[in-house]
Amino acid sequence: SQQGEEDPQALSIQEGENATMNCSYKTSINNLQWYRQNSGRGLVHLILIRSNEREKHSGRLRVTLDTSKKSSSLLITASRAADTASYFCATEGGSGNTGKLIFGQGTTLQVKP
């Protein structure tokens, strides 16, 4: 079963605008990761935030984590047409530290030039 729920399911913006995607999860976690997928194939890791962190930055990406609300958000600033892709959050469980990831359903982002 999928743990994460993401919203919106689809997002369409103009180049230069910011894009915000949200992810909610149900159980305790060790960390939460965001991945990007182009054309329905392999995923690329974007950023990881640990359960004891609240915010993290990487280039134009900003991730926040609120463990009390079991939610995370991914912000892409100054979007580019090349950012068009599907974005997935994935959680690694809090017990046993298995390394297994549970993925959300994803947000499809379209950035119009």
């Binding site: 999928q2 994460g4 060790n30 960390n31 990761q33 991945y35 329905g40 194939r41 392999g42 995923l43 690329v44 890791h45 990881l48 997935f88 994935a90 690694e92 530290n97 298995t98 390394g99 297994k100 990831l101 549970i102 993925f103 959300g104 359903q105 994803g106």
Partner: protein, 116 residues
């Protein structure tokens, strides 16, 4: 070095036939994962291998699905008596040993399976 590779990239089969999907992880990665992704959906965890430990098979949807891994290298996912609902992209990922401190997974390009 090379990333995770999967073969074949596409597989079309008839209902009831068996299929084998292959994954070559990144050299030195002790953990290997299989996921299934149906059209327009998120990734569904299938199975996880970590070194010599017993695999976590908790995501396998039925006994028609099985997977093997040879040491810390190649893995094969076998689906017996395929059904149309098995049609999906099957993604493999690997990750570095836990001692490296890295938790991120590196994905292969996937195998698109179509069951007619």
């Amino acid at each position: 070095g090379a990333g995770v590779s999967q073969s074949p990239s596409n597989k079309v089969t008839e209902k009831g036939k068996d299929v084998e999907l292959r994954c070559d992880p990144i050299s030195g990665h002790t953990a290997l994962y299989w996921y299934r992704q149906r059209l327009g959906q998120g990734l569904e965890f299938l199975i996880y291998f970590q070194g010599n430990s017993a695999p976590d098979k908790s995501g396998l949807p039925s006994d028609r699905f099985s997977a093997e891994r040879t040491g810390e290298s190649v893995s094969t996912l076998t689906i017996q008596r395929t059904q149309q609902e098995d049609s999906a992209v099957y993604l493999c990922a690997s990750s570095a040993p836990r001692t490296s401190g890295s938790r991120k997974q590196y994905f292969g390009p996937g195998t698109r399976l179509t069951v007619l």
